[in-house]
Each structure stands twice: as structure tokens, then as C-alpha cells.
Symmetry: C2
Subunit: 337 residues, 2 copies
DNA sequence: ATGAAAGCGCTAACAG
DNA sequence: CTGTTAGCGCTTTCAT
């Protein structure tokens, strides 16, 4: 340890120690060959000094940070957990580190996440916005690095995009309830001014129409959350005592509904059959276990990550791609007939 | 838009446009004053060009990346979700970005996370290792940047550390079961060769001893997961048909146990009362709702983040701090007498 | 108050 | 095959 250098080793430290130039050090360390003798000396020095390349310097020089980010509303929602898991896996596989933005319900935070691409600490972004405003679209079109959107985009937006037709999924849920003989089918929705809120509401109406039912007055909306779901269920039960089927716009709402139904003394599925949406981990944990329409959250995360990774590599100039995932109903006890 | 420059604006672009030196640009942009005239010109140019400082260059120059990381086993576990949420919040508040390492069950990955501090892309790390081996300790002591450990550390390790005495928590669970008149109290544990597995097992024994009970043969171990918990519960029920109380080493195991109990036709809490641990979101979702010993996951995440942020700032040379959180039993339906 | 210049650590082009 | 050198974009002396 003759190292009179302070701080961590750099290529310069190594160069001095090995008696070669910094260029040779760089070459050897990047596997670009060299005289066997040189290679040996450099490697020895690097090992002895415990050299690790400085990622910041590399990034600045190479113009690539090796980082991507995922922005979602709240990691507390199991849907996002499923996405993060797969995104993480794909990112790591491709040699990217993953950053997390939790935007909360705050629209402004989402925009900030988009704008922050400009400082180049991140090479690309996956974003799953719950609302898509004019501002979002402006900011998206102005983004200085690749962005993949998880969620539906208006026609004509030229961005990589992973979607699922939750309208169809919602219709499937209703069809399933109809299939087991339910006729008074309610719907607990999230906020109507969100993309998923809109789509699921339309799907619910589609499902009813197909079955020749009318459900105009069987809808309650609130937040996409458990407590809100419980309250909405309570309101609906009071208004519609003869309810026999219930579709919930996500599993969190459904969990709240199950609670409210129990407290109201209704048996599930005997009195009221319940279907959730997203098919999260929760669906297997409740009692009765929850029938739910899976929207492939894990798969969407994975696809989004793959799209992004591709665009950051090979696919730099590819046309924007719109990929979609098919909803799938998973029947469990809450609709066992 | 006379900008003949390619790529994003830099201080140099601005300097040319404003007719000043790059040094002045830097000063103005960092609020270090200047002649009113200069300030105005620079700000105008910056705005027009949509200038955003390059984070990589800043980092390299300043030696600070503005990033911290959190390494845990699997974001799928609600305990970590709770931690991430708070860590995220504290990090953002303090101006740090948050990186996520999912290490899986892989020991090697944890070590990699620690070693990766050396490349300086991250200023500090919060790690919640499930096992602490000799290698971990070596690597921890060798870490080139501040590390905060969530979990218990052997005496004498000089590292910031947030802990909770889950041994005491486990004893509380048993005491609670005893308190509602249970005498044949089983324990479903995770792997015994993990830190939490050890502590909770000891706490279980403590609890029994205090009550003058013997439970040597009422233990099953598996993984800290739902399916594993269900299987373990099944095994235990076969071996010990007169079981009347059950403590589970975490909520995931407890959820599995509830399922197994139901399948075996046992009523909860009438036949068997159940207590989980961690008091995750799950505990409020199951039926019956699950009594669980909270270990302050959210709080631990928050504290860890605060310790780290402090050490990266003011507290650079502070003595290592060991903070602890107190377990708290939250009684719910699964132990209603 | 301002500009010139050095340098953070690295890679790559260019000579030799 | 190897060394010298020029930057990547920024902050910060050091003169002026």
C-alpha cells in the first residue's frame, strides 16, 4: 500500500501504479486488448487498489446514465407493485438501474417526472398516468427522452404504449355475473374523470346492454380505494336492497365491498356475487376469494420495460408501437354458483 | 430560434446567446448574483432555450449524485411496500432520488448492492437484509458510502441501524393468545436461519415460558410466504388436532393459515385464534380480519431514510446511531373472544 | 462583477 | 500496441 492518493482509485492511480498511460488502463479495463504484459500489470494494479469505475464520469462521457424510471401514482396499490416487479427484472436484465417516482394523486408531480427527463439523469421513463390531460400530452410530446405510457392514449399520439381494453374487461365481468343468473348488477367505480374510470363505466354499460339489462341507477363512484369502496357499497345497498351482483372497478374497491356486504349481513356469493378487477394478490387472500378480471399488470409492466429498453438500444428509430394485453376473468369463490 | 447548436442547451449555448462567459451563466443560474443586467440576459437566454442543467455533469463535478438506494428482498412483500413508501417520501423531501434494488432471495445480489456503492452512482444505501452473514458484515464494514441497515445487527457493528425487537413482539402475540384463554398455541415460522426467524422463535418460547406452557412440538417452519404458510398450517393441524391458538411469524403466513384452517373446517377465532405479525395491509382485508403485531414497517423505513439523509448532510461525522421501534399488537377479529 | 482556465474521471480519436 | 490529448457539462478558483 504505497498509495499516497487520497480518495478512491481512478484510472490515473492505476496508470501510475502499473507504469502505463491512462489510455492503456482504460483499454485493458474495457477488454480492448493490449500486450499480455500490460494487461497483467493493469489488472494487478486495479485489483490491489480495489478499483471501481466512477459511474458519473462514465455517464457524462458516454451520454448514457444507465438508468430508467417508473412513475406511478402510489406504490401502495398492488397493481403497481406487480408492474414494478417485472419492470425491475427487465431493467436489471438489460443493465439498467430503476428509479421510482411516486407521484401521489398530484398531477403536477407527474408532469415533473416527465420534465425531469431533461436533466438526463434518466435515459427513459415508463409512466402510468391515471388521468391524461392536455398538459400531459403536451409534455409527453415535448419529452426529451423516450417515454412508454402504460394506459390508453388518444388516437394519433406517437408514443410507445402498452394498453389493455378494460372496457372489454368490465363487460366480461358483467357477462360473468349474468351467466350465473344475476340480474340486479351494481357497479362501484373510481373517479369518472379518470381514464380507467371512464372505460370501466362504459364496459359496465356494454355488459348490461348485451344482456338486455338496465343498470342506470345501480352505480356509485368514489376513489379506487378500499375504504371508499366500502362506503360506496353501503350507499348502494341502501338504495338498492335487491342487489344480487356487484362489479367493482378494482380489487381494492372490491375488498371494501366485501367488508360492507358482510357488515350488512349479505352472503357472498349467495346473496350478492362480486367481481373485482386487476386480479391482484388481494383476490386470493380475501374470503371468499375474489373473482377478478385480470388486466395483466405484471405483463404490462414487462412489456413496457421491454419497449423502453428496445427503444434505448436497437429500436431507436422504430415507429411508435402500441401493444395490448387481453383481459382475462379469473373465477373464484365470490361468484361460485 | 437562431440556435445552430445541436442537442440540448448547455451553459455554453446560453453564454453565447447572452453574450457573457460560461462562468457568469453558472453564477446566475445558481443564484450567486451578478449585475442586474447580466442576470436578466442570462435568465432570458436560459428560458428561451429551455435550458436544464445536466445532472451527470453536476454529479461528476460536485461528487454527489443526489441518489440513494433501497435494497430489499422482494417488493412483493407488503412490509417492503410500506417501507418504500416512506423512504420515497423522505428522500424526495430531502432532494434525493430513490433507486430500487430487488435482491430476491439471492444473497449474492445483496452483496452486489453493497459493492455497487463503490461506483458512486448512489450516495448511500438502505438495506434490509434477511440474513446477515459474515460476508455481509465484511462488506458492510468495507462499504464506501453510508449504509443504514433495517434489521438487527450483532453487537459492536458500527453502522446506523433501525431495529425492532420482534422477539418481544412475538412474546406479545403469545401473551395475547394466552390472555383469551388459549393453551395449545402453535407457531408457524419462516426459515430458522434468518434473523427474523430466530428472533420470533425465541419470542414464541419466551411467551410460552411466561405463561408456564410448553410448545416444543407445536412449531412448523417454512418460508415467509402465503402458500408455505398454508402448508405448514395443514401439517401442524394434522399433528396437533387440539390446537386452539396460532401465532404466525408474518402476515403472509397467517393468510395462508387462515385458508388452511377454513379448509380444515376450523372456525377462527372460535376453534383457533390466529395472530400474525407485521400488521400489513393484508390484516385488514382478510376475513376474519387478522390480529397482528405491528413492527412499524412504515416508521422504520422513515427512520432509516432520515438517518441516511442526515448522515449525507449534517451528520457526516456523527457516531453511528441505533434507533428502535416498539412492537404493537393490533387486535382484530381473529382473536375476538 | 466578470472572464479565463482548471479539472471532476472517463473514453476515443489520433499519432507514433 | 501504446501514449498524448481532447473533450462530455459543470462549478470554482484566480486574476482582472
Amino acid at each position: 500500500m504505497t498509495s499516497a492518493d487520497s480518495g478512491p482509485a481512478t484510472i490515473e492511480t492505476i496508470a501510475r501504479r502499473a507504469g502505463v498511460s491512462i489510455a492503456s488502463v482504460s483499454r485493458v479495463l474495457n477488454g480492448l486488448g493490449g500486450r499480455p504484459d500490460t494487461v497483467r500489470k493493469v489488472q494487478a494494479a486495479a485489483t490491489e487498489l480495489g478499483y471501481v469505475p466512477n459511474a458519473m464520469a462514465r455517464s457524462l462521457r458516454g451520454g448514457r446514465s444507465g438508468q430508467i424510471a417508473f412513475a406511478m401514482e402510489d406504490i401502495g396499490n398492488p397493481v403497481y407493485v406487480a408492474m414494478v416487479r417485472r419492470i425491475q427484472a427487465v431493467a436489471k436484465e438489460a443493465g439498467y438501474r430503476l428509479l421510482l417516482h411516486s407521484t401521489g394523486a398530484d398531477r403536477e408531480e407527474e408532469l415533473r417526472a416527465l420534465r425531469s427527463l431533461a436533466d438526463r439523469h434518466t435515459e427513459g421513463l415508463i409512466i402510468s398516468p391515471i388521468r391524461i390531460t392536455r398538459e400531459h400530452l403536451d409534455e409527453l410530446s415535448r419529452a426529451v427522452a423516450p417515454v412508454v405510457v402504460i394506459g390508453s392514449l388518444p388516437e394519433g399520439v406517437r408514443l410507445d404504449n402498452v394498453r389493455v381494453d378494460s372496457r372489454v374487461g368490465a363487460a366480461m365481468a358483467v357477462a360473468h355475473l349474468v351467466g350465473i343468473g344475476r340480474r340486479r348488477i351494481g357497479f362501484l367505480n373510481g373517479p369518472l374523470d379518470t381514464v380507467p374510470g371512464q372505460a370501466r363505466y362504459k364496459g359496465y354499460l356494454d355488459g348490461l346492454a348485451t344482456a338486455g339489462l338496465d343498470g342506470a341507477e345501480l352505480v356509485e363512484s368514489g376513489q379506487f380505494q378500499t375504504d371508499s369502496g366500502a362506503e360506496a357499497a353501503k350507499r348502494l345497498l341502501e338504495r338498492v336492497p335487491d342487489l344480487d351482483g356487484l362489479f367493482c372497478a378494482n380489487d381494492l374497491i372490491a375488498v371494501g365491498a366485501l367488508r360492507a356486504l358482510r357488515e350488512a349481513g349479505r352472503r357472498v356469493p349467495d346473496d350478492v356475487a362480486v367481481v373485482g378487477m386487476d386480479d391482484t394478490e388481494l383476490a386470493r387472500v380475501t374470503w371468499p376469494t375474489l373473482t377478478s378480471v385480470g388486466l395483466g399488470s405484471a405483463r404490462r409492466g414487462e412489456l413496457a420495460a421491454e419497449l423502453l429498453v428496445d427503444r434505448l438500444g436497437e429500436g431507436r428509430d422504430r415507429e411508435p408501437r402500441w401493444v395490448s394485453v387481453t383481459p382475462e376473468l379469473v373465477a373464484r369463490e365470490s361468484t361460485r354458483s
